[in-house]
């Protein structure tokens, strides 16, 4: 057996290394390929209005009305809406949601607080997104605070579907409603 090998060499190229090369290529491309992730602001639309259904009565103090008008101005308030610069929307929403019945003009409890968003036909889209971003930011901050206080983690760190996350979510339910457009 050993004598055989010495006499004539194997003419084939070693093929075993090829598999490694192929694997290496495969892994390289797997790592390098970035599948671009979709990002965006998620929202749940209200179901289509029924024929003879009146909207449930909501106390004015529990409804933060935000109007983004055609000029790209944000008007918000529970009573008479007042012009608000976009960067202040977050703070106002936080105050509104965490009022817990103190200020008679703001919400009874975070559970009852509703943010109602209204737009006009000529409202610029980017202002609307900026405003929505602020509202989402307010809820995110509040949920992070609650999660941090109760479980010592941020809201995102809590596992999806875990009772902890559910609890934080229930503390600050995101109740954003899109107002019916004017006909």
């Amino acid at each position: 057996m050993f004598n055989d090998k010495k006499e004539r060499e194997d003419p084939e190229v070693g093929g075993a290394g090829m598999a490694d090369i192929a694997f290496l290529l495969l892994i390289f491309f797997l790592l390098v390929t970035t599948i671009d992730v979709d990002t965006g602001i998620g929202l749940q639309l209200p179901p289509a209005p029924q024929e003879d259904q009146k909207p449930p009565p909501i106390k004015t103090r529990n409804m933060m009305k935000i109007l983004v008008n055609a000029q790209g101005m944000v008007l918000m308030g529970t009573g008479e809406p007042e012009p608000t610069p976009v960067p202040q929307v977050k703070q106002k929403i936080k105050e509104f949601v965490t009022n817990r019945g103190q200020n008679p003009n703001l919400s009874d409890s975070p559970d009852k607080a509703i943010v109602s968003i209204k737009t006009q036909r000529a409202t610029p889209y980017n202002v609307y997104i900026d405003m929505l971003d602020e509202v989402m930011g307010a809820y995110r901050d509040l949920r992070n605070q609650a999660a941090q206080a109760q479980f010592g983690k941020t809201y995102d760190q809590l596992k999806d579907g875990s009772p902890e996350k559910g609890k934080v979510k229930d503390t600050y339910p995101k109740k954003i409603s899109i107002a019916e457009p004017d006909q």
């Binding site: 075993a16 979709d38 990002t39 965006g40 639309l45 179901p47 737009t119 889209y125 929505l132």
Partner: protein, 148 residues
């Protein structure tokens, strides 16, 4: 015949590995061929708006896109704001309802991703949202990029 040679003594014990690369390449090619990259040619112009508090959509197969923006015309000109679903421009907003209803029947957990040009007037988005509500596909997502 009648007596067998002891083969095990002579043949090598190694599994032949020379076919390994072929197997790996075949796998590679199989996956390359079966992976469908769903790309649409955009017929409308879209500049994404930016936002900070965004969420990722991890389940991409649930997503269906609606593109809204000024129509791309020949010679780098931009036309009126139009709606594009899949590969075609939708002229009439009311067609959105039927299209989305069909998609919703196929995928009950449908998320409609609205990819809207940032300078669009919101009226057309309101119209689309009304149609989506009629169709019953209520989960929407305003597609935005991370603010830098």
């Amino acid at each position: 015949m009648g007596h067998f040679e002891k083969k095990s003594a002579k043949t090598s014990q190694d599994v032949p590995t020379s076919a390994m690369p072929d197997v790996v390449f075949m796998l590679l090619i199989f996956f390359m061929v079966t992976t469908v990259l769903r790309e649409v040619t955009l017929q409308v112009k879209i500049n994404f708006s930016r936002a900070e508090n965004i969420e990722k959509i991890t389940q991409k197969r649930l997503v269906s896109y609606i593109y809204v923006g000024p129509e791309k015309l020949s010679g780098n000109k931009l036309g009126e704001t139009k709606i594009q679903i899949d590969d075609s421009i939708i002229e009439d907003v009311s067609a959105v309802q039927q299209l989305m209803y069909d998609k919703l029947k196929e995928e009950p957990k449908l998320i409609v991703s609205l990819r809207v040009h940032d300078e669009t007037e919101f009226g057309i988005v309101t119209d689309i949202q009304q149609e989506l509500r009629e169709a019953g596909s209520l989960r929407i997502n305003y597609s935005t990029k991370q603010e830098r």
